[in-house]
Subunit: 220 residues, 2 copies
């Protein structure tokens, strides 16, 4: 498929696709406006345009969903974004909290083979530096199971496999707490009052708020 979309169009499609994945339902104008940090009226304009191009399905006053064409654009933009993040962290040695804004630009570079060559150079990584799965060349994604640290029961251990929020401030907090992907965490206690958790990480004990624990993906 050969689309020629602007960066704005690609960004909107990514936003609509990812909100749609999260919620399963049709995506509201205001949700898109929130994610895109823009006004509802701008969203309406763009949704109309994407609808004209057959990239989203839109019913007036009822929200939008990406079509399969729109999904393929969104997924390939995500693939590009995540591969560039790998490159920035693994090859150029950026910290994981520094790469999002740069990847946000790099994901829009137009080239038939650039992303595939990058993929090959990086040895076909499955996950980006924040634990998000990287779609393959054909757009196939291995979604992970969405187990949050906050839902792990007292006494159980788990391994960090991703972050839900990848804001710089959250990632820096994790750096400070020496929490990174692959780290083993044991849940010692959950406070009834505010659901803060006492954790054992490498024989050190720390306490984290619910806000923190519900933004960490874990397995096992």
């Amino acid at each position: 498929m050969k689309f020629n979309l602007s960066q704005a169009e690609e960004n909107y499609l990514k936003a609509i696709y990812s909100i749609g994945i999260d919620t399963g339902k049709s995506v509201n104008t205001n949700q898109i406006a929130l994610k895109m940090k823009t006004k509802a009226s701008s969203v309406t304009d763009m949704v109309k345009k994407l609808s004209d191009k057959g990239l989203v399905e839109h019913k007036k006053y009822k929200g939008a969903l990406v079509t399969s064409k729109g999904e393929s654009v969104a997924v390939s933009t995500l693939r590009s974004h995540r591969l560039w993040e790998c490159f920035l962290v693994d090859t150029l040695e950026f910290n994981w909290d520094e790469v999002h804004d740069i990847a946000e630009q790099l994901e829009h570079i137009k080239s038939d083979s650039l992303v595939d060559r990058l993929d090959q150079f990086l040895n076909f990584p499955s996950y980006d530096p924040h634990g998000d799965p990287i779609p393959d060349k054909n757009g196939v994604i291995k979604h992970h199971k969405n187990v949050m640290l906050s839902s792990v029961e007292v006494g159980a251990s788990c391994i960090v496999i991703g972050v839900k929020d990848s804001s710089s401030s959250f990632l820096k907090f994790l750096d400070n707490a020496s929490i990174c992907l692959g780290k083993k965490i044991k849940v010692l206690k959950v406070e009834d009052f505010d659901q803060s958790m006492q954790l054992e990480i490498e024989s050190k004990v720390i306490t984290v708020s619910h806000q923190i624990s519900k933004n960490l993906y874990v397995k096992k």
Copy 2:
């Protein structure tokens, strides 16, 4: 210095800077329009805008020249462009005729440290895949001496160090003729009528037009 320029502004500055370097004189509206593949009226608009921002010096009807501020933008864009071309050829193994259009996009990525990290990863290359010098972090460029193959006398030998035209069609021609950077060429004969040259390259003899020989930089 902290400018926040659009891609269009950066491209115009590169164009005005490089025409200015070639000719030494003030750069005409039509020359810029030709290089930018746009209309003279669009150039006038943009030059006015760049002039308002102190990036070019413009006298009505008399052409434009980059200021030192404008030069520093142009040079840092060139640096970015050429480093990305190195990356594409050396790291991602693109052919030298495939990289210009991609670098034309990559050069505009905004980041404080991206280009410097790329420079380091590539081990501070001095020249891009077409033999063009790469400005250092401080904007210092080692211009090479602009000796064209066409000016080499009969009987003399030289080494290819760059191409003037880096269009895909020229580069593909060179690939076919097994001419690449570093290759040794001996001039066997120059035809009086059309200045075509008979060359010896790795004990093979080929004939090239003046068009070709005046687009190859050589040394020695």
